[in-house]
Structure formats: structure tokens, C-alpha cells
């Protein structure tokens, strides 16, 4: 396989065929909470892309020197290292956002998808591919979260990124408060999972 087609396979796997959210159902723990506002989600996604791709690459660099029985601990520490960078930078330059996200930045450490990718892919593959795999998995994760966030903010508050949207903020639209509350997140994620899986199943049956 050439390098290019290899990268393409990794991209398709991460974004669609083996998507972290609706296929692997990993790592939904910490990030559902931030999908009530699109801006929070974007910041969280950027943090996740940064952490996941770099920690997968780092784990891959270290894979030859790490004794097998302590590798979980090493992986956790590598992830924690990058998360601390994100946390400190956010606190210094955007304290308000840091307050909004609360403990959820720190919770990227126990986000199962980061650990899962490091363990499943970074541990057995060269640096470049591990980085790409981490990157595309994070993107695949982020785009599903963004869909959820857009629907929740639009229906719940009638705004997008804080700007009022014509029809939804008007008097003809009853705001769905439930959408910005926790149950809304569960329902949206359930529905999104349903739709994407149904599409996947339909495609598989066709071929």
C-alpha cells in the first residue's frame, strides 16, 4: 500500500467506519456535558484533537522503551502531560472558558477514547500513522459532538455561537429548554447514534 492510500484508509476508519462515538461508543463520558453551547464544544474539540493526536504519537515513540506491564501507567502519564498543557494555557489566556468547562478539561485524561486509541493503535504502529490515527479519530469524534451541540443550542436557546438565529429566536419558536438540560444531551446522542448506524447498515446491505 502506498503512503497516500494508507493515510486515506486511516481517515475513513476514524471519521466514518469506526467512528469513536457511534461505532466504538467510547469517550462520551466527559464531553456530553459541554455540548449545550457550540463555542464550548469547539474549544473542547480543539483540546481533544491536540491531546489525542500528540499523545498517540508520543506513545508510539515510546513503545519500544516501555515495559509491557507498566504501559497503562505510562500512557496515562503521557496523556495527563498534554492535558495539563491545555489546562494551563486555557487558564492563562481564556479564564472564562476555563471556568465554563470546569473539570471537563481534566477529564480528557480518563476519556476512554484517548486511552483506547493509544492502546489499540499507538502501541503497535509507527509515529506518523499513530499521529494520523489519533488526529482523524479526534476529528470524527468532534464532528458528531458539533452536530449535537448545534441542534441543542439552536433549539434550546435560539442562538448559534451566541448570535441570535432569525426564526429560532423569534416569538414563533417555543424554546425547547429540555434541549440545553442534561436529558437533551442523552436524547440527541441516542438519535444521532441511531441515524448514523442506520445509514451504515443500509450501506452495508447494498454492497
Amino acid at each position: 500500500m502506498t503512503k497516500q492510500s494508507q493515510a486515506k484508509t486511516i481517515a475513513v476508519e476514524g471519521l466514518w467506519r469506526n467512528n469513536p462515538i457511534f461505532r466504538q461508543v467510547l469517550g462520551i463520558c466527559s464531553t456530553l456535558a459541554v455540548t449545550n453551547l457550540v463555542l464550548n464544544t469547539v474549544v473542547m474539540s480543539v483540546a481533544l484533537v491536540f491531546t489525542l493526536s500528540l499523545s498517540a504519537a508520543t506513545v508510539s515513540v515510546l513503545r519500544k522503551f516501555t515495559p509491557r506491564n507498566i504501559r497503562m501507567m505510562v500512557e496515562t502519564l503521557v496523556i495527563a502531560f498534554y492535558v495539563i498543557i491545555v489546562d494551563v494555557v486555557l487558564k492563562a489566556y481564556w479564564p472564562q472558558m476555563s471556568g465554563n468547562l470546569g473539570p471537563y478539561v481534566g477529564l480528557i485524561i480518563t476519556n476512554c477514547i484517548v486511552m483506547g486509541r493509544c492502546e489499540a493503535y499507538g502501541n503497535a504502529n509507527p509515529v506518523g500513522r499513530a499521529f494520523l490515527d489519533g488526529f482523524f479519530n479526534a476529528i470524527g469524534y468532534s464532528f458528531v459532538l458539533l452536530i449535537i451541540a448545534i441542534v441543542r443550542e439552536l433549539m434550546g436557546m435560539g442562538t448559534l455561537l451566541g448570535f441570535a438565529v432569525p426564526f429560532f429566536s423569534g416569538p414563533n419558536w417555543d424554546k425547547w429548554i429540555i434541549m440545553v438540560m442534561p436529558p437533551g444531551a442523552f436524547f440527541m446522542l441516542g438519535i444521532v447514534t441511531w441515524v448514523f448506524r442506520a445509514v451504515q447498515i443500509a450501506r452495508e446491505e447494498k454492497t
Binding site: 466527559s30 481534566g106 485524561i109 480518563t110 436529558p183 441516542g190 447514534t193 451504515q200
Partner: protein
Amino acid sequence: MMLSEFEIWQGFVVCISAVFTNNILLTYFLGMCPFLSVSREVKTSVGLGFAVIFVLTCTCALNWLTYHHVLVPLELEFFRFILFIITIAAFVQFVEMLLDRTSPLLYQKLGIFLPLITVNCAILGASLFMVIRDYSFVVTIGYGLGSGIGWFLAIIAMAGIRQKLKNSRIPRGLQGPGIALIIAGLMALAFTGFAGVLQGR
């Protein structure tokens, strides 16, 4: 450290609110992965639930002690993620060994769940919340206990529902995690009904 009656009362209130109104799973989405993957049978969820209650309470207290007596004096607060993770991992390992030696029966029941717990976000999340909200030691214990019980309640309810669900017909795309999430949403909706119980906690 003075133990005032007020503090104990506050700890109690925080505990109750962590069980019902601020359920760690249904309002903060922590510990979702094991919640979705281990909730197929009531029996296993009970085991996991008890393990979570125990570990959560103890690690919250331990993390409070290490945070306020080691990190704050040294001004190394940013180091807390690593410290918390290490404390949790070490504690879980320690309990596993202790159980193995002393109580084979308990080890058989809880032992397999303990390693799973190290990566449960609820454990780390509770410790981080405890720092952010600036709880005192007594309140922290109440909070840890309440969060654990809240998680336990949620997973048992979920497992009970899912056992019944085996015989129902569900669209193919919704099977597995999809339907579990919708049920969790309904449960969260039910739990918002408790919101008025503890006004002005």
C-alpha cells in the same frame, strides 16, 4: 480541624443532593462508558456499583488530604491531575491486593471490577469537582459517598430496564448503545423531578 454540627449537616445535604438532584451520571455525564457497557445484567451492575461507592468515597477523601496538605502548600496545584490519577490507581491496586489476601469471597464478587474503576471518569470527576467547589473535608466525604450511591442507583435502574428490553423489538440501528442512551435520557428527565427537593443547598 474543628468539626462543627453545621459542617456535618452541610455534608449530609451535599450527599443527598449528589444522589438525587445532582446525580453524577445523569446530570454530569460521568462514568458513561461502564454505564453503557456493563449494565446488561443486574447482578454484575450491583457488584460494580458497590465497588464504585467504596472507591469513590475513599479516593475523594484521600485526594482532599493530598491536595490540601501537599499540593497547596507547595503551590503545585496544576499538578493535581497526575496526583489524583496516581492516588486512584494506587488505591485501587492496594484494595485489590488487600481483598485478595483477606477476603476471598469479597474478592470474587468485586475483584474483577476494581481494575475497570481506575479508568472510570466518575472517580476522577468527583475529585475534580471537590476541588473546584472548595468543599471542606467532611463535606467531601459526604459528596463522595453521595456520588457513589447516585451512580449505583442509576446503573441498577438501567440494568433492570435493559434486562426487560431483551425481548422487545428495537430497530437495528438503535440496538445496543442507542436505546441505552434514550433510556438514560428518560431517567435523567425523571431525576430532574427531584430538582425542587433541596432548594438553596
